[in-house]
């Protein structure tokens, strides 16, 4: 792939440094490479020492790795962020209205904007939530929306992560690391701070407590120390000053949830859960789950506890529902979407499937319920054999797949083994919905460290960068 055709965050088509990168580029050009290497080694050592690691699935239990950290920041100018932030608020607002609608009147289905069976037969649709009122009518309290930049630099939403999005701890730790490694850079730039996030999160969680609870007890619920994001769970609980609990630490009595403490049972009002729906209550969902709390759903339905994100919210971030989000924005808000969707073919539709099969070598084909970048085909990077294998799977199970054009993800200068080179990046800002919709100016920038790679997932060799949103 030729990098020339990709939008470059730092330089324009003529090779000139973009204005918001000018000062940084200046600084970088005066920085000897050995010094950069030294700083990178320092960062690695610090991340190791703090134990900022993630567990890897499929390897020995307890295997922990660092997510590679790149020391060159991704910089977003103030006006660009303003548009992004407005677009994100709009999108998340509509998504919350959609979930509420689906679990109540289903007006959008009645109006014929989305085929009802698409929603109601979706594995993420939870019938048990039908007619259940939740605090402040919020379902997706924490959204991690993945954005990419393509073409001439316009932003596209790649997916809305509304279940248990992770990565915010890296947003915070990356900033701390940058400030530690390069304190003087921060006097050249007015970088919007992100460290309020845990405070905003705690406030939001407290604001969605069940009605009548004046001083709510908030907990973070983790599947346990072997989960890939355990570090983040422990980190957020610690930063908010709340307990980090596992399912076994809680029980349900008379439609209220309690945690077992050394001083006896203590009532829990808001659960920030990092456990998937399927595992959260063995009485309601998977009976073999040992990660959940028996009876939690019942207590939740009765309004005795708030679960964030809401059970059943996954119906709105499924890849098969994604193509309808612009429609949701028009339907609920009467506005035109500020952020673009990636044009998406739904293989369940005959004509779409035919198109996809004809253009496999150009498209990215994704599993509808997949996550983590495992069950996908990146056409331009795939071998003939891989394409043919995928073709057979597609013909067999078209309903399981969607396809999108291979986006020319933007590049950002990155310090790799061979020196400073362009690598593809994406952006995940975190949107909080409670009393109001809030977000800190920033997000997690993920970078595909392998040359030419478009897959930024940490499980597939991706790294992260600090994300600087500039203040006006």
């Amino acid at each position: 792939m030729i990098t020339k055709n990709f939008y470059n965050e730092m330089t324009d088509e003529a090779g000139r440094i973009r204005p918001h990168y000018a000062s940084y580029a200046n600084w970088l050009s005066e920085m000897p490479e050995e010094r950069l290497s030294q700083k990178r080694a320092e960062a690695d050592a610090l991340f190791h020492r703090y134990g900022i690691t993630f567990a890897v699935y499929g390897e020995n239990a307890g295997t922990e790795r660092l997510i590679p950290f790149d020391i060159i920041p991704r910089i977003i100018p103030a006006d660009e962020w303003k548009t992004l932030a407005a677009g994100l608020r709009q999108r998340v607002k509509a998504l919350n209205l959609f979930i509420g609608d689906i679990y109540h009147e289903q007006n959008i289905l009645k109006a014929g904007h989305i085929p009802a069976e698409q929603v109601l037969n979706n594995a993420q649709y939870r019938k048990v939530m039908q007619g259940i009122d939740v605090a402040r009518d919020i379902y997706a309290h924490i959204a991690g929306v993945d954005l990419v930049r393509a073409g001439a630099g316009e932003y596209y939403v790649l997916e809305d992560n509304l279940r248990v999005p992770s990565g915010v701890s890296y947003m915070l730790e990356n900033r701390k690391m940058m400030m530690r490694l390069f304190p003087r850079l921060f006097s050249r730039y007015k970088v919007a701070p992100v460290d309020r996030y845990p405070d905003m999160l705690l406030n939001m969680l407290r604001s969605v407590a069940p009605t009548g609870v004046t001083d709510p007890t908030v907990v973070v619920m983790t599947p346990g120390a072997y989960n890939s994001a355990y570090f983040e769970h422990a980190f957020l609980a610690q930063q908010m000053g709340v307990e980090l609990v596992e399912g076994q630490d809680m029980f349900v009595k008379d439609d209220h949830v309690y945690m077992r403490t050394t001083q006896g049972p203590q009532r829990v009002d808001v659960i920030y859960r990092r456990v998937d729906d399927d595992f959260i209550d063995p009485l309601a969902f998977r009976p073999d789950s040992v990660l959940g709390v028996p009876g939690l759903l019942r207590a939740y339905q009765a309004g005795g506890v708030t679960v964030t994100n809401a059970i059943g919210g996954g119906v709105a971030d499924d890849k098969s529902i994604y193509p309808y989000v612009p429609e949701m924005i028009r339907f609920y808000l009467g506005e035109e979407p500020i952020l673009h969707n990636v044009p998406t073919s739904m293989c369940r539709k005959k004509e779409d499937l035919a198109y996809v099969l004809d253009h496999l070598s150009e498209l990215v084909v994704k599993e509808v319920h997949g996550s983590g970048g495992y069950g996908m085909l990146v056409g331009p990077a795939a071998s003939k054999d891989e394409i043919e294998t995928f073709r057979k799977i597609l013909i067999q199970h078209p309903e399981r797949y969607i396809a999108q054009p291979t986006l020319a993800l933007s590049n950002c200068p990155t310090f790799v083994e061979s020196g400073i080179a362009p690598r593809h990046i994406d952006l995940r800002p975190f949107v909080l919905s409670g009393e109001e919709i809030q977000l800190v100016a920033g997000g997690l920038t993920r970078v595909a460290l392998r040359e030419g790679s478009l897959v930024v997932n940490s499980s597939q060799g991706g790294g992260t960068k600090d994300t600087w949103v500039l203040e006006a």
């Binding site: 134990g51 120390a225 422990a234 609990v245 076994q248 945690m259 077992r260 403490t261 050394t262 001083q263």
Partner: protein, 314 residues
């Protein structure tokens, strides 16, 4: 504090202490095996260690014969033996990992590093450095983790549960170590109070770092009653039952909750009996049966603590 958090802290401390004490117990045998004795006596001594730990059955599922090498393999490296030193250090680390946010980074790093070293420790290396050196290493890692605990942890509930774990485990283990001597027969033709007897008692004292202490306290010959007194009743001896129970009782009072009154009373009663007990009375009633009763009470106290504060033992 979450009961599970307290539970992990308590077991982290117990497993670290257990690793140390198993090293100490094996060290007694190791030292005794260097004294002149018949093969039968030596094997019998190793068998006694297994019996005292309640691991004879588990051992025979893995090995046919009790030989020094088999027992060392089983007690140090064996993955099927929950009390092997390797498994103890792993369990200490796993428990620490589950609550690493509650530990200071120094304590977490120490616990983690100990396990990583043990994990990479091969049997060849073990025979290279020798059993004695290895047991020293285990003891020093345990000393280090205790030092880091006391030197860096906030003196709150977390520390108290760690201390309860340490001293309850040590109480159990010291009682068992004392009983090792009871289980080991004197070589044929050797009289009680003779040379072989002396070496066995001194090996036992050394295994709990009490040989010099004994000399300092009694300035006299080594006699069984005094060894027992030192290990059971002397509250100034850091590994004695009296000391351990004093610590358990004091720390329990610091975490007291609505249902723990009876547990505290039992701990206090045991502590008082050790404080005011006389060795003559204990010896008259039989040291072995006294030790066995002590072990029962320590174990039942452990169960009560689990029920009142931690994750109940199912």
């Amino acid at each position: 504090m979450l009961s599970r958090t307290a539970d992990h802290l308590y077991w982290m401390a117990r497993y670290m202490e257990r690793a140390e004490n198993i090293a100490r117990m094996l060290d007694v045998n190791h030292r005794m095996s260097m004294m002149p004795q018949s093969q039968i006596q030596e094997d019998q001594a190793w068998g006694a260690t297994l019996r005292i730990m309640g691991l004879e059955g588990a051992f025979h599922e893995r090995f046919a014969d009790i030989t020094p090498d088999n027992v060392l393999e089983f007690m140090i490296f064996d993955d099927t033996n929950p009390s092997s030193i390797r498994n103890c250090l792993r369990a200490a680390r796993e428990n620490g990992h589950a609550v690493r946010g509650t530990l200071t980074s120094e304590l977490w790093e120490t616990t983690n590093a100990t396990w990583l070293r043990m994990r990479d420790f091969s049997r060849e290396q073990f025979f290279d450095v020798g059993a004695g050196e290895f047991f020293e290493w285990v003891k020093y890692r345990s000393h280090l983790s205790r030092g880091v605990t006391i030197g860096t942890m906030l003196q709150d509930e977390s520390l108290r549960f760690i201390r309860i774990g340490t001293f309850l485990e040590r109480a159990d283990n010291t009682a068992r170590i004392l009983d090792v001597k009871y289980q080991i027969l004197l070589p044929a033709g050797e009289a009680e109070g003779g040379a072989a007897d002396y070496y066995q008692w001194s090996a036992l004292l050394r295994s709990v770092s009490a040989f010099e202490v004994y000399r300092k306290v009694y300035r006299d010959l080594i006699t069984p009653a005094r060894v027992a007194e030192l290990l059971l009743l002397r509250a100034d001896m850091p590994r004695s039952l009296a000391r351990c129970m004093k610590e358990v009782y004091a720390n329990l009072q610091g975490v007291s909750n609505a249902q723990s009154a009876e547990t505290e009373r039992q701990a206090g009663e045991l502590e008082a009996q050790l404080r005011f007990g006389r060795i003559e009375d204990i010896v008259r009633g039989g040291l072995h049966s006294y030790t066995m009763r002590l072990l029962d009470r320590v174990q039942s106290l452990g169960n009560r603590i689990a029920d009142d504060f931690l994750v109940p033992v199912s």
